[in-house]
Symmetry: C2
Subunit: 286 residues, 2 copies
């Protein structure tokens, strides 16, 4: 654990030596109804600021830890407005509506007076209804056969995941490719060290893909997630059944044009259930 | 045009007799910076309240009509909290950040003190960058060959579109299907009467699909869009080139479970460009 120079992170590190880094990263302290205090986690540092998945999970945690929250998350969108600095931040939530079936929240993550992230979260009661999955899992080897490895690279947060690439693995050299690389990736991915899945880690896993531009062009350049939407289709039983086993992630893109590209993703359980689907919009400079 | 009993709608109807119903439906009047007044359009009435696409476009219009807005929309998420009544409403916007490349907005649509919709919009400068579309348009007959017909049905808004189903057309009988219907639909769709495309109508077209549950089960029951996310990948040249011709819409779902299902969509130009992609979460009762 690296608590860095942040007093809050150091304090939490000392208090919870056996706590998983993800739980430290997403920890919040309530200071008032709908007002939470947190700090960026050095363990999930990105090129600039924090890994978007950790930020997403932290903001979601402000909903799920709230006494007013009556049900599990079903949908979340987070917009990343500006990179966070290393200091503490506040997450401020507004419960916009509690209906019979759903609760609607809007949230802001604010640091030094700047809104770094703006989000909406929908929670919903999941009943025993019609159930159907028209799609089947991609035909891939199991995680054990995919050569799971600790993430490595210039970004600290990569070390917090294990990856087993099935197709569309990273092969960028820093030089433009003669032929465009595949935009699609299939990858087994799990927390490192392993951690029993919950909605928070599912939200973070949904952003654990490399940006498609990297795969297609092969060059590292200024780029970043602008808006991330995740639909949580897993119920509690699905999540409990998955435990700490890696999930299969699939990501792809449909169009790169004029500084932006889209990026779709799906997360599958070991036994072929769709746990989450989503899409993000990515900005790139040139 | 039906202005109904709403004074504002009647007034606009009288003032703009040749105005397209979509422009009437999405019209807003500024009452202060970031505060807009509008009214639900009877022409786009839904089972309950208004067609989500019209609501989406109206909220987006509060951004695009704002003097502070510096660029075109690239991403939008709108959460539909409760059905609107027939009276007037306010759209209140907050400009959260203006950066070099993007502007971030959050918005609420409020009627009689209730938040009916909460949204985030990202606008972005589109430059002359790397461009690539890894996907090709589905191999379908052109719109002229698809038998474009005026929308009909129990929902008023259907009359405001023309549909030419290529696959996965509506065939629900009100009785549960012996075999589940296809979750995927390919359909040419355009405004009725035709109207030159802009970002507002593109945002509405993104929600012009029947909910996947209807296609799969064949029964009409309580259901509704909860959260709609659209990424606008079309630049102004793409939109100008499309004009008032129908676009090809593709929609599908991956999992129905515990009162919710997801629904992905893509909109394609006549010449095979991806104009928009997106996803929504749908609630259903049983």
């Amino acid at each position: 654990m690296q608590a860095g120079n942040d007093p809050l992170a150091q304090q939490m590190d000392a208090a919870m030596p056996d706590t998983h880094p993800f739980d430290l990263a997403t920890a919040l302290t309530a200071t008032d109804t709908g007002v939470w205090r947190g700090a960026p986690a050095p363990d999930y540092a990105n090129m600039v600021g924090s890994f978007g998945g950790a930020t997403t999970a932290t903001v979601l945690n402000a909903v799920l830890s709230d006494d007013r929250c009556q049900s599990d998350p079903v949908s979340m969108t987070i917009n990343l407005l500006s990179a966070m600095g290393t200091g503490g931040f506040e997450v401020v939530s507004k419960l916009c509506r509690t209906g019979k079936y759903t609760q609607h929240w809007t949230l802001e993550l604010v640091q030094d007076g700047n809104i770094c992230a703006a989000a909406t979260v929908v929670c919903g009661h999941r009943g025993d209804t019609f159930a159907y999955q028209p799609v089947t899992m991609p035909d891939v080897p199991p995680a054990e056969a995919a050569g799971m490895r600790d993430g490595r690279g210039p970004l600290k947060w990569l070390e917090r995941y294990r990856f087993g690439f099935v197709s569309g693995g990273p092969d960028w050299t820093g030089k433009p490719k003669e032929q465009f690389g595949a935009s699609r990736t299939e990858v087994w991915v799990g927390d490192n060290p392993p951690r029993p899945m919950d909605y928070l880690s599912l939200a973070a896993l949904a952003d654990s893909f490399f940006l498609r531009l990297l795969h297609v062009r092969g060059t590292m350049q200024p780029m970043g997630s602008v808006s991330i939407t995740t639909h949580f289709l897993a119920n509690r039983a699905d999540i409990a059944a998955q435990g700490s086993a890696p999930v299969l992630g699939v990501a792809d893109a449909m169009r790169f044009q004029g500084n932006f590209h889209d990026q779709q993703m799906q997360l599958w359980s070991t036994d072929g259930k769709v746990l989450a689907t989503g899409t993000q919009l990515v900005w790139y400079r040139q």
